[in-house]
Amino acid sequence: MDKVRANLMLCAGTGCVASGTPKVKEALLEELKKRGLDEEIKLVLTGCNGYCAEGPVMAVYPDQVFYQKVTVEDIPILVEEHFLKGRPYQKLMFKEPEKKTAIPRMGDIPFFKHQVLRVLRNKGLIDPEKIEEYIARDGYQAMAKALTEMTSEDIVKVVKDSGLRGRGGAGFPTGLKWDFASKVKSDIKYMLCNGDEGDPGAFMDRSVMEADPHSVIEGMVIGAKAIGAHHGYIYVRAEYPLAVKRLQLAIDQATESGLLGENILGTGFDFHLEIYLGAGAFVCGEETALMRSLEGKRGMPRPRPPFPAHKGLWDKPSVLNNVETLAQIAPIIMNGSEWYRSLGTEKSAGTKVFALTGAVNNVGLVEVPMGIPLRTIIYDIGGGIRKGRKFKAVQLGGPSGGCIPESHLNTPVTYEDIVATGAIVGSGGMVVMDDNTCMVGTAKFFLEFTADESCGKCTPCRVGTKILLDMLTDITEGKGKESDIETLLDLGRDIISTSLCGLGQTAPNPVLTTIKYFRDEYESHIRDKWCKAGVCRNLTTFWIDEKLCKGCGACLRACPSKAIIGEKKQPHKIIQEVCVHCRTCYEACKFKSIKILPAGFEGDPSELLGAAAAGEGKKGDLK
């Protein structure tokens, strides 16, 4: 008997491995064997499923039941209940944040239900370490078609017509890039893949490389045929060991099977592919810097033109595409440009993967058609803001992007509409922030990153980001000057217009957008020495409103510096001299009786708080 009646797809992406997949796998195999089910139930280790926060996750087919946070202790009862007796095990199912009812089927869980999978088409469905499983999902069919039935011009035309744009950040039309390179005459050309993925919080490329490495390879071979290249490199950061391992395994398997190397599939086309490990510098995600790094030199950008399509790696014509872009090529070749355009908008076709994180209930990777409103991603897929708090802003595009406020939540996610808000789609990092976030602090956080990662070649970026950061630091410490906001705006615009590469040209975005939408916060930091979110320690006074305090003692117990006094059931008080402004009491209070006042505030705050409450609705488009 070798009939397999169920497949257990256990996630073995980086996130789930860290939360315990290896041990769960051993326990599961052992228990299945003990129950005599090991021949009829097959365990498959998949790549990243995208729902990393609740890992390890496992999908059971054909039942389509989805389990999360699977632990070794759960295994015996899970195997007995579900796999032996056919009763799906509720304890490990997804539960809606408020209702607490278990949702068994993956397709019914809101996080998955609203997604459309093209890039992530094989996530959780194949074992990325077995080339046969990729082939069984129509893998390498598109490559076969491109190599046997299509000319270079045909391929370029389909990709051009599809409207596919580079998913790495800039959104340059992929077909156009291929067109330029295919028309340049040269004995050697290079087809390159950008797997550097430097934006903090973005992990869609890692996920694709881990879960579906062959889709990247297939896209590269098709691109190589289109531009006439016979050598290629995948540039991956060394911090992605699992992605590197799976890519290497995939390259080895493909080479052994004649799907890479000499005479691919007997068609006479040659393409040799190698992995190059990057050291994880943010600037090496920029194409000219990446190519210098590949040449073994220090990764620094150079002015363009000449563009890489004419003079790229070792001054030969080169095309560099992002991982997510390349993973879309095979389905476009198979299904045509019209199919691709059936989702998305006129100028932003197809789907985009976002790394949704921050203060939302469901965090993870989400793939959605371009053009859907931000609100849908945050509320329908993300399940809204955690702990019932208020939405404040969403940061799109990582350190190069910007913060978008509530008033712009209906903005459709397209390259043009997002740029109009001052942010960028970028590589798809999406950090949601609630009303406990200080926007000046947020801008400072991203500037710390870009100032640190600036390669130092051009002055506007090297010096400019440092000055921006110093000014932001001063403002958060209470040393801000009235003229600072204008200086930040002027300097930010100067850095954008004079920097050499994308790093400097986008680094001021977090500052400019937070000033654009949250100028009042900058002003209250500078004028009133008041961080209303209570994050900047020098700019707060914590104060208990005696009218609201029930004397429950929660704050008193939580305070690490014993700064709170009071009898049970009597209003408590904070001793200001002892308070370290850590905000712990504010989080602990269930009655909202702790108020955040300006630094050094004394006297009756009722007037101030009344004004603050009235001003709450005014946030948003002030300029």
């Binding site: 008997m1 009939k3 397999v4 054909p62 032996l84 056919g86 469905l125 069984a136 599939l265």
Partner: protein, 127 residues
């Protein structure tokens, strides 16, 4: 692995069809063997083994087997529900190894429900 041709790609796909029928759906028939405590005690395991043996021997990939808990009719266990796509599901009762094999041949393969073993037809679909 030897070097592949375009034909080989299709062959590999065929070879893995059974697994992907489970994962992607698109099966022709689904058999649910009721494996509650009552079912197991009455011999559901032998029924399931017989069914899987028949599927293996017939070398087909479009029939899937799944389990469920007690169907609420413990006296008539072992029970199994056969669902051919777009046909009313049929529940069989008091099964054993031989009866299951007969149902496989007659109902699942030939499309004729085996009335003598059937409890009810047209109960709720599960797909």
């Amino acid at each position: 692995m030897p070097r592949l041709t375009i034909d080989d790609l299709k062959k590999i796909k065929e070879k893995h069809r059974a697994d992907f029928t489970l994962r992607e759906g698109g099966y022709r028939a689904k058999v649910t063997v009721h494996m509650g405590t009552c079912g197991i005690a009455a011999g559901a395991r032998a029924v399931m083994t017989a069914l899987m043996d028949e599927i293996t021997k017939a070398n087909i990939t479009d029939v899937i087997v799944t389990t469920s808990g007690c169907a609420g009719l413990c006296a008539k266990e072992p029970l199994a529900t056969v669902e051919i796509m777009n046909h009313p599901p049929v529940k069989y009762c008091d099964l054993n190894d031989e009866k299951m094999r007969e149902i496989f041949r007659e109902h699942i393969m030939a499309g004729n429900p085996v009335e003598k073993y059937a409890l009810v037809a047209g109960c709720e679909s599960t797909y």
